[in-house]
């Protein structure tokens, strides 16, 4: 886990005994229902276990104690203890159901962000086409995520907003939320997706009103204003490369970026390849074409998700790590 996400995660230390900070109105509704069920459950638990203990004490077999008559059925009683819990259950169901509809029904006006998940990174695409690995949103504005997956099923989970939705390859799913608190909140993958499932972390950054647009404009222009190698490093951190490729020659799920450019490396099929611009470009767009020896063929393709300019920047960045 990199230090940045670790920091974001540690901000959940606020909140209550049961929950992390509530960052939306709906989160507060969910907590309300949770506490309602908790109160009912506690009542029934104390009733059941309390009676059990009282009976064990009162009616334990002991010298001089003879058991008294008790009926072996009582239909009225049995109907009562079926119907009363039944009514309470209907109440819980109803509240869960209305809360769910609120959660799944976005208002008419939303700010739309597209999400693509792949092993083991997130890509959030803003309306102007800019893509980043963290989810930036304006405060007090309804945001709708339209989501899909590139490989296996993932699930986007923001504990502070109490929402979660699966991202299924081959179809779009959606979720919405309206953050009412400025700050950073952890964003996790909740559906098991393989080796680095537990490292598929990011964060939601809720910007104060007015600042979101400024951030988006600056971030979108950064690529064209930075020197290519630095832009490449930014992409390396933001778009998921860092998950599997190290900058310090250690081999992770994928080969290190350091000290490889210009060298010849063996491939899984026994041939060798020269690590040059063409090889890197091909590996980004069609990772299965030439898999390096000693690594599993698990890299997802970035075709259509990195622009030519961005691929060039990554190549420059790898070159700079000689």
């Amino acid at each position: 886990m990199d230090p940045k996400t670790m920091m974001a995660v540690s901000e959940t230390e606020g909140g209550s005994f049961w929950f992390p900070t509530a960052g939306t109105q709906i989160a507060k509704e969910v907590d309300g229902l949770f506490y309602f069920i908790l109160a009912l459950s506690t009542f029934f638990f104390v009733l059941i276990v309390g009676l059990m203990l009282v009976f064990v004490v009162l009616y334990r077999r002991r010298p001089g104690y003879a058991r008294k008559f008790a009926p072996d059925h009582n239909s009225t009683l049995e109907v009562v203890w079926s119907v009363i819990p039944g009514i309470l259950l209907a109440l819980i169901f109803f509240q869960g159901f209305t809360g769910f509809l609120d959660m799944r029904t976005p208002p008419a006006e939303t700010y739309e962000i597209k999400v693509v998940a792949k092993k083991w990174s997130w890509a959030f695409q803003y309306p102007n086409g800019y893509i980043e690995g963290e989810l930036h949103v304006p405060v007090d504005r309804a945001v709708k995520l339209t989501m899909t997956s590139d490989d296996v099923i993932h699930s986007l989970y923001i504990p502070s907003f109490r929402i979660k939705m699966d991202l299924v390859p081959g179809r779009y799913s959606s979720m919405w939320f309206q953050a009412n608190q400025v700050g950073d909140f952890p964003l996790l993958c909740a559906e098991y997706c393989g080796t680095k499932h537990s490292d598929m972390l990011s964060r939601v950054i809720v910007h104060p009103s007015g600042e979101f647009e400024r951030w988006l404009e600056q971030a979108s222009n950064l690529m064209s204003t930075l020197p290519p190698a630095e832009a490449g490093k930014l992409l390396y951190n933001r778009r998921g490369c860092a998950q599997c490729h190290s900058m310090d020659a250690t081999a992770r799920t994928g080969p290190s970026f350091s000290g490889t450019f210009g060298t010849s490396q063996p491939l899984a099929d026994g041939t060798t390849v020269l690590i040059d611009e063409n090889y890197i470009r091909e590996s980004i767009l069609e990772p299965m074409a030439k898999v390096r020896a000693g690594y599993r063929p698990v890299m997802p393709s970035y075709k259509g998700q990195l622009k030519d300019l961005e691929i060039d920047a990554i190549i420059e960045f790898i070159k700079s790590l000689k």
Partner: protein
Amino acid sequence: MSVLQMETESAAVNERPSAVNYLNCSHGFWSWAATRDHKRIAIMYLISVLGAFLLGGIFAILIRMELWTPQRTIMDHDTYNHTFTLHGAVMTFLFIIPSIPAALGNFVLPVMLGAKDVAFPKMNLASYYLWVGGALFLLAAIVLGGLDTGWTFYTPYSTTTNSSVITASIGVFILGFSSIFTGLNFIVTMHTMRPVWMTWFRMPLFLWSLYATSIIQVLATPVLGITLTLLVAERALGIGIFDPKLGGDPVLFQHFFWFYSHPAVYIMILPAMGIISEIISVFSRKPIFGYRFVAYSSIAIALLGFLVWGHHMFTSGQSRISAIVFSALTFSVSIPSGIKVFNWLATMYRGSIILTTPMCYALSFIFLFTIGGLTGLFLGALATDIHLHDTYFVVAHFHYVMMGGTLVSFIAGLFYWWPKMTGRMYSEFWGRLGCFGVFAAFNLTFFPQFILGARGMPRRYYNYPPEFQLYHQISTVGAFLLGASLFVAAFTLIHSLFRGRKAPANPWGAASLEWQTSSPPPLHNFESDPCAGDPYDLDSQIYDPDLSGYRFRVESEQLHSTHDSAI
């Protein structure tokens, strides 16, 4: 230790010449391996499923050790993923599903019916060997590349990962047939082999629960077989069913999988409830309260259990209307479960409660199952489930139901029928001590996981944020204590085989038929036809110090003789 010594000495006093019984009537390897005696098959099943439980338990301890620190502790990412998958697969398919029906049920069911054996003894043996075959395939999968899909085999991960999914699927497929054979056999046995006087409503409730379980085994398990066949077809032949790249639908797999696996939860819990009904009644010395409600609630749970699978998929993108319908149906299952708990309490009311080891486990069951059941309400309610789905809250919930429920009940049943199965009494002191340990350590292990889940800790995570470490460490300490307590329970039973007092025919004063024959029973279960009677007419039994057990009360004898058993 003094208690053990005392009991050992008293064992010598009670020693009587042993009669021929199912254990000593024949000898040699084939007398067991080719046996058609349901009791020997049950013993083979018992030893095998306990072996599987030990294996699953080792995986559990490894998982808890790795989670001691937020980062790497003893293993890497992939090894961890393999470990939790195998823990789930071994515990579910090799242990919990067959535990009560195939091991305890196989032993008890025909004797409770006053029958010589099950309806199809050869099929019963075949069921055991299918279990062994399935287990070998699962073990082979562990050796040949392992399994890292989670026990749920979700596509398209399971069709694309490079672990031994096909081998494991074949194993589970075969285990499914083992389960179907047992279920079919039990249904036919209960329909055709009851004595004439034993109407459906004079059957012990354990048999009702096995009947409900068998219906699910026969109707739901084929769906698992078909699903896994399709999965293997997709992986091996590239036929597009679940993988969107081949034109399939990955969510379809989840529907198929849970159409079996949710009813399978009731395969696990229903027989457990049946055991508790027997034990609570016997050790409260009172007929079960509301027999018909308890019996019907088993059937209701079995049928409603088929209609709730969609509650595993509230975040999968299924339509809103199906989510709402599944949520409503889910709540309907909790009513019959609640009825059972209230009826057990009412059975204890004004009883004469004896805290034997089986009763201590049964009371633990009520405590743990109540928590397991009530936390299900948080997950059945849509709005809260969205937050809690796939977190440790779910992990804690199903361990409270499956382990706090089924496992604890399995141990309760094992201690309850142990004298009948082996002819030996165990030390009540060590039995109760083990029970207390299991109960306390269980809560220590799993209660913190509710808090972890509500605070946003997803399941199946190898690394986790440092703020969760304390809860994980409490849970890990609990897991070690739980393991130690289970060993205490195991040693109590094993010790009894060598040093235990000889068991009387009816040590507990129960009125169901299995207590009318000797402990252990002869090969054909009864020397003469058992007497007809109400299985819950406990007043028909009276303690006889000469037998150090119970016998039928003669009309003239007082109900409460000047006291009672050696327990």
